[in-house]
């Protein structure tokens, strides 16, 4: 089996890769988004803490 055969998936490449590529992209986007949200939440919590400590 050549790589081109693998990509063509017996003529069903559009359907098979359409399913796999979108699924992989969706999961990648979710991981990136959740990591960014967690970083943002940490920054927010840190800035709150600093605000309360600073005036004293």
């Amino acid at each position: 089996m050549t790589f081109a055969d693998f990509l063509s998936m017996g003529g069903y490449g559009f359907y098979v890769w359409g399913a796999y590529v979108v699924s992989a992209a969706a999961i990648l986007i979710e991981v990136v988004a959740v990591r960014a949200r967690l970083r943002g939440a940490h920054r927010l919590a840190d800035s709150d803490r600093d605000e309360e400590i600073a005036p004293r």
């Binding site: 017996g10 003529g11 359907y15 098979v16 979108v22 699924s23 979710e30 943002g40 939440a41 919590a45």
Partner: protein, 249 residues
């Protein structure tokens, strides 16, 4: 060690669950990635071409895990919603909040991959068949949950209102599951059953189960990450977050 030596209720408080969630993430994320790699290799390279469907059937390795997870995550959300309503615990409601976007994602993927499989298998991307329609309703239930949370500013009120919504909607899950038996649907019946011998080749079944396990571990890992963000966002004015040293790293 006897089980009574660990006070499990300690972890019902966000303050003690936060560091635990943080430590647990890699223990689920890493096996999820390794199993996904193994499952993809088995499913796309090792498994033979299907005699009837050609290579189009390979969509099964994401379609079935995504569909199972879409229903399973909703049931877990219903469980935590019931706990949240009965015991009025913040953490249970936060778990519901952490699971919902991932449940919606798996529901979307089940519909998307099903649509791309339906075209070569049945000649249509979509039909208003009982299985597909009830799965679409599941997607709307996830959206409804997220929209309701977004519409209520007070998180504790949002917890209670959305818990009721999730519990009412759980009736849809058995409808999805049994739809292929109750109605004469275009969608095929269950491929895997506990009561009969598998109708699939062993390597195909193995690849599908490995991908399901990977999806399950992934869902746990991502929910544990998201719940940390939710805990920080909701409780940042409370003592335990303010006292949490080294929060940025």
């Amino acid at each position: 060690m006897s089980s009574s030596s660990i006070n499990w209720f300690r972890f019902a408080s966000p303050a003690s669950f936060f560091p635990l969630a943080r430590k647990l993430v890699p223990w689920f994320a890493l096996p999820a990635a390794l199993l996904a790699a193994a499952g993809l290799y088995l499913g796309l390279v090792v498994a033979p071409t299907d005699a009837q469907q050609g290579d189009a059937y390979r969509i099964i390795f994401i379609h079935v895990p995504a569909a199972w997870m879409s229903m399973f995550i909703y049931v877990v959300m219903a469980f935590w919603s019931a706990i949240a309503l009965m015991f009025n615990t913040r953490l249970a409601a936060m778990m519901v909040q952490a699971l919902a976007p991932t449940g919606a994602l798996f529901t979307f993927l089940a519909l998307w991959t099903g649509s791309l499989w339906g075209r070569p298998a049945w000649g249509t991307y979509w039909a208003w068949d009982a299985r597909m329609t009830s799965e679409l309703i599941l997607l709307f239930l996830y959206f409804g949950y997220l929209a309701l949370r977004g519409a209520i500013a007070d998180p504790r009120r949002a917890d209670r209102a959305s818990a009721v919504l999730v519990l009412v909607g759980v009736i849809n899950v058995p409808i999805i599951y049994f739809s292929v038996r109750w109605w004469n649907t275009l969608h095929q019946g269950a491929s895997v059953s506990l009561t009969s011998a598998p109708k699939m080749a062993a390597v195909m079944l193995t690849a599908m189960l490995i991908m399901t396990l990977a999806a399950w571990l992934y869902a746990i890992a991502i929910a544990l990450m998201r719940v940390q963000a939710i805990m920080l966002e909701r409780e940042r004015r409370t003592g335990w977050v303010e006292g949490f040293a080294g929060a940025a790293e």
